[in-house]
Amino acid sequence: MSNINGLLSLKLLGFSFLSMSVGLLFMGLGRKVTARIQRRLGPPFYQAFLDVFKAFSKSSITHNYVMDLGIIMSLGGLIATAFFIPFAGYAVLGSSSIVIILYLMSIGYLGMAMGVSASGNPNATIGISRALALMLGYEIPIVMIVMAMMLTYGSSDLLTFATAQQGGFANWHIFKYPLGFLAIEISFQAMLGEAPYDHMIAPAEIASGPMVELSGKYLGIGFLLHAVQLYVETGLIVNLFLGGASTWYVFLLKQFAVYFTSMCINAVMARYRIEQGIAHLWKYAGTLALLQLFITRLGVF
């Protein structure tokens, strides 16, 4: 509490725009990647910025105050989560407790869920119910892997995990926790809502789910939400498995590498049914994570 001052506020302001811009950049690049896989030229890499700017310039509708509240809460919560992600070895708040990150992320989802449910469109709620059901699938493997690392280092601070991997490729957790990495890659795909776990959006099925009633700036905030989500989740994986980074461009490159993998999978996969998706997550990601945790636990005994 003592270190709250003007400088910290400025830094946080900077970090909030950093997280949004990085995410938007990735979204544009991701569309480019998908386009190249489909042998298209694709949009310019800054397309997501144009989209968001345009969305904010449009007029929009709201159904009630809960919708406004929820939408603001969602992006706010996720940006607050982004503050806890160490960026290139720098934790702006001085703390990067992974339990906070995992729980604080939920407030973003809760806000989004609340906002779009308040629109009164059943498609939105169906999308949310699918997203939450899927959450039950991917959170557990992630937590198990985090706990495996926590067993090794006796700390649940993300920065500790990142600094522990310094000094070359061989120290990266990819090689130390290979099963865990596989599990988290599968979970990550579900976390981002990319194929084969894109039940939440499913445009042809439930009219883009949560986004069905979002217009203008609401949709713009929805895009920013996805952008910050990208920043947070890729940052999480880079810090957990890819050795963090000491310089900002290496960190960004690693983040993009994670997203690139995800986009490649997304471009060539079809969608599971919801219960198949959850079962798949538990069966594969869950088993791998459990094995990893078990192995680590035995090592610690």
Partner: protein, 213 residues
């Protein structure tokens, strides 16, 4: 019969520098909602996919009218679908653009004398761009989008403002076909014979503008 098949342009009165910047973003990021009523929809997949790749220009499909900027009427419109199109158009948020595909939205095309099909889309909704042809090829579609983008930049594509301004006129026209009560298979009479045309309305508008200046 007086026809109003004009690509009318109502220049934005309050066009300023800020609006110009916004227009740049609007033209670079157009999200479409395609109302696949007719055969024109079949031309969209090639326009979107590998060969012509519409996404180059920042155009992409969207799921609901709330999110979209651009409504594509891809082919003929029956009275029944007109009702849905109107609701969808009204649910879209400003600024929004309407593009008619092929000859059917222009003049009814080959269905011009068919009772459930409406002949002139611009009687009911403000059309920002019409693409002639039966059907227009992807090249024609892209060409017209290019033109639409220019018009957006210049602040000419303001159909939504026209709709707002002359809502009574559009509404009356819509009601005329949607709430039609007389039997359909009767000697045909133009229901719009005694209505003021859009040209006349615009002439009045120009006079008003002149007065403003």
């Amino acid at each position: 019969m007086k026809k109003n098949v004009y690509m009318t342009n109502l220049r934005d009165e309050r066009q300023n520098a800020w609006e110009g910047i916004l227009n740049y973003f609007r033209k670079r990021s157009m999200w479409m909602l395609y109302y696949c009523t007719g055969c024109g929809a079949v031309e969209l997949p090639p326009t979107m996919t590998t060969r012509f790749d519409m996404e180059r220009f920042g155009m992409g499909p969207m799921a609901t009218p709330r999110q979209a900027d651009l409504l594509l009427i891809t082919g003929y419109l029956s009275v029944k679908t007109l009702k849905r199109v109107i609701r969808s158009y009204e649910q879209m948020q400003d600024p929004k653009y309407l593009v008619g595909f092929g000859s059917c939205p222009i003049n009814g095309g080959i269905y011009w004398d068919t009772y459930p099909v409406i002949n002139h889309l611009e009687m009911f909704l403000p059309v920002d761009m019409s693409i002639a042809g039966c059907m227009p090829r992807p090249q024609a579609i892209l060409d017209s989008f290019e033109k639409l983008r220019d018009e957006i930049q210049e602040g000419k594509a303001v159909g939504y403002k026209r709709y707002e301004k002359h809502y009574d006129w559009y509404k009356a026209n819509q009601d005329k076909v949607l709430n039609r009560e007389d039997a359909v298979l009767q000697p045909w009479e133009d229901p719009f014979a005694d209505k003021p045309t859009l040209e006349a309305l615009q002439a009045g508008e120009k006079m008003e503008e002149g007065e403003d200046k």
